[in-house]
């Protein structure tokens, strides 16, 4: 049985590697360390040649070994004579070395200190702000064109988005609103029951749903459902160069893609908020009637008595603002998306986070504003 690899010196400056047997990737290949040692011991080796007549079978295993030898030879400035290799292996190695490795690829290990990294993130955030403002400006211009009737987009697109964000979101909005109404009613009722004022559940639920919870819950569902969908759609279009195609054909992608989405959400949100209010109040009634001995009529009377138009308006206005912000966040992240599948994922995540952040900030500001105005 021949050794897989043995060394031979036909002449003092020529190292010959004698290869034998099976050289498969799944088997074991000898390491090049022994050869490197030899090269160091005998510093006068100028050429490495091969004798591969005894190789019985080979695949990538042999080629990786040869690549190692080639690299070693390169480091020591030694010539390679591939003449003795099996024919196929010689030709494969010729292909592998035909294009020299790309040096200076501009990739270096990123070893920044903690402080430097924090700084970099801060700078990136700082740079993102003008980008957002730029997008805001473009959307504003596009709205201007819409008002003057010059915005180009297809009415069918708008209808499609409306269908998607409106009717198709009804079940999930109903479910969440019902549960939230249930929670508000139950929590309040336990406290109110201590001094026999269960009837005020109606006030609590009515006020809570119309002024805050209806809009907030619908907003959060929309951010997760619709904002994310917008970012994913636009991001994928960015990956497929569809948005570039719009630009080259002279369509403004903001008019064509962003405007219908924002319009749709702004148009649909008021209706969705009202729907959510009604479902939430129904849930409150359900709790009162089943658990706290209040009749349906009493609950209805109390709700109507406590309700003012201003409560409803406040909720609807808030919801509309949320809708605008969600569509803005979704479209912004979608349009900013990079050109890979991973970037689409990041854009989608980021749109939901941004959307919810915007909603919470807007909710706080609007609540304070309406308090101050005394509405």
């Amino acid at each position: 049985m021949l050794e897989q690899l043995s060394l031979d010196f036909p002449s003092p400056d020529n190292l010959q590697l004698v290869l034998a047997g099976s050289w498969l990737l799944t088997g074991s290949a000898p390491s090049a360390a022994g050869i490197e040692e030899q090269l160091q011991v005998r510093g006068d080796v100028r050429k490495i040649s091969f004798n591969g007549t005894a190789v019985t079978e080979w695949d990538t295993g042999l080629l990786t070994f040869l690549a190692r030898i080639y690299r070693l030879a390169g480091e020591h400035n030694i010539d390679i004579d591939p003449g003795g290799l099996p024919d196929g292996a010689r030709r494969m190695m010729a292909l592998a070395t035909a294009v020299p490795p790309k040096e200076d690829t501009g990739k270096q290990a990123d070893e920044a200190t903690m402080l430097a990294r924090i700084g970099r993130v801060a700078l990136a955030m700082w740079r993102a702000a003008p980008e957002m403002l730029h997008f805001l400006g473009e959307v504003a211009l596009s709205l201007g064109r819409l008002v003057r009737g010059k915005a180009q987009f297809r009415r069918a697109d708008l209808m499609l988005v409306i269908q998607d964000v409106g009717p198709q979101a009804l079940p999930i909005v109903a479910l969440i609103s019902f549960l939230v109404g249930l929670i508000v009613a139950y929590m309040g009722a336990v406290q109110l029951a201590q001094f026999g004022a269960q009837i005020y559940i109606a006030n609590l639920v009515g006020l809570g749903m119309t002024r805050e919870m209806g809009a907030l819950m619908t907003g959060i569902i929309m951010a997760g459902r619709t904002g994310a969908a917008f970012a994913a759609q636009l991001g994928t279009m960015q990956v497929n160069e569809e948005i570039d195609a719009f630009r080259t054909l002279g369509f403004n992608p903001i008019d064509f893609l962003v405007l219908p989405r924002m319009l749709a959400l702004v148009l649909v949100m008021p209706a969705m908020v009202l729907y959510s209010d009604i479902v939430g109040i129904t849930a409150g009634m359900f709790v009162s009637v089943t658990a706290f001995d209040i009749s349906t009529f009493e609950y209805y009377q109390q709700t109507v008595r406590s309700m003012e138009w201003s409560h409803i308006w406040v909720g609807v206005i808030k919801g509309t603002v949320y809708g605008l912000l969600i569509a803005f966040a979704g479209c912004l992240r979608g349009m900013q998306c990079g050109r890979s599948a991973q970037a689409v994922g990041e854009a989608t995540t980021s749109s939901v986070v941004t959307g919810i952040l915007f909603i919470v900030i807007a909710a706080s500001l609007l609540t304070i504003l309406f308090q101050q105005l005394g509405i």
Binding site: T64, P86, M92, T97
Partner: protein, 237 residues
């Protein structure tokens, strides 16, 4: 072959011999890529069988299908590199999953495969950072990672410059000659067809069936079907 009720091709029957470079050709929309999807086990044919070494792929149990598939390497039309992984990681993934090699050895195999397709030094790049042609070659490196018995290509040279395309043809021939790899190529690049192909099938979109099978060079000159001859002579007979 059909999508729902829509039949794309019927009555296909051809065989690919070990060591063949087999070309699937035909006009646009005739179902070349669909046929390839049937062959590599992505889509079951509406009727009929795909045989590998006599065993019918679609009638085999899942474990057997997995075993047959292990011998495949596929290079997709637009690369289909995993965008969250670097080129090195793309090629290394199948190696890590299906071989017992250590990380150092895998890195060496990966470098070798990338240098075979002319991408030495690009290990750390993400697919989004390189050009379309380079993505294609990287996809080929991934397809070759496990030294497959059968390599499938969907439009390998579309989007490559003439020199890269020529190098790719050389590589395909070399893989066949040195490693005995069987190669199945979907293409309508005539230059490639005649350089590398030694067997082929011609699909026709109108009659929805195959018009000819055999060596493309013979078909070009002596095919009884004028459609096939016109295709292989770029429209002039």
């Amino acid at each position: 072959m059909a999508y729902g009720d829509f039949v794309i091709q019927r009555d296909l029957s051809f065989s690919i011999r070990r060591g063949d470079i087999f070309i699937i050709m035909g006009g646009s929309g005739c179902g070349k890529s669909t046929l390839l999807r049937h062959l590599i086990g992505l889509k079951a044919p509406a009727k009929g069988r795909v045989l590998y070494d006599g065993s019918s792929y679609w009638e085999s149990p899942v474990a057997e299908q997995e075993r047959i598939k292990r011998g495949f390497g596929m290079s997709f039309q637009s690369g289909a590199l995993w965008s969250s992984l670097t080129l090195a990681e793309n090629v290394a993934l199948p190696l890590g999953e299906y071989t017992d090699l250590g990380p150092g050895e895998i890195a060496e195999v990966v470098s070798l495969k990338l240098s075979l397709v002319g991408l030495a030094g690009f290990e750390g790049f993400y697919p989004a950072e390189i050009s379309g042609g380079m993505q294609k070659r990287a996809a080929l490196a991934r397809a070759m990672a496990l030294d497959p018995e059968i390599l499938f290509f969907d439009e390998p040279s579309a989007g490559l410059d003439p020199i890269s395309s020529r190098r790719l043809d050389d590589l395909i021939l070399e893989l066949r000659d040195s490693l005995g790899t069987t190669v199945v190529v979907v293409t309508h690049e005539l230059a490639s067809i005649f350089t590398i192909g030694n067997n082929s099938v011609f699909l026709d979109p109108e009659t929805r069936t195959m018009l000819a099978t055999g060596d493309p060079k013979t078909l070009r000159d002596t095919s009884p079907d004028p459609g096939v001859r016109r295709f292989l002579n770029r429209g002039d007979i």
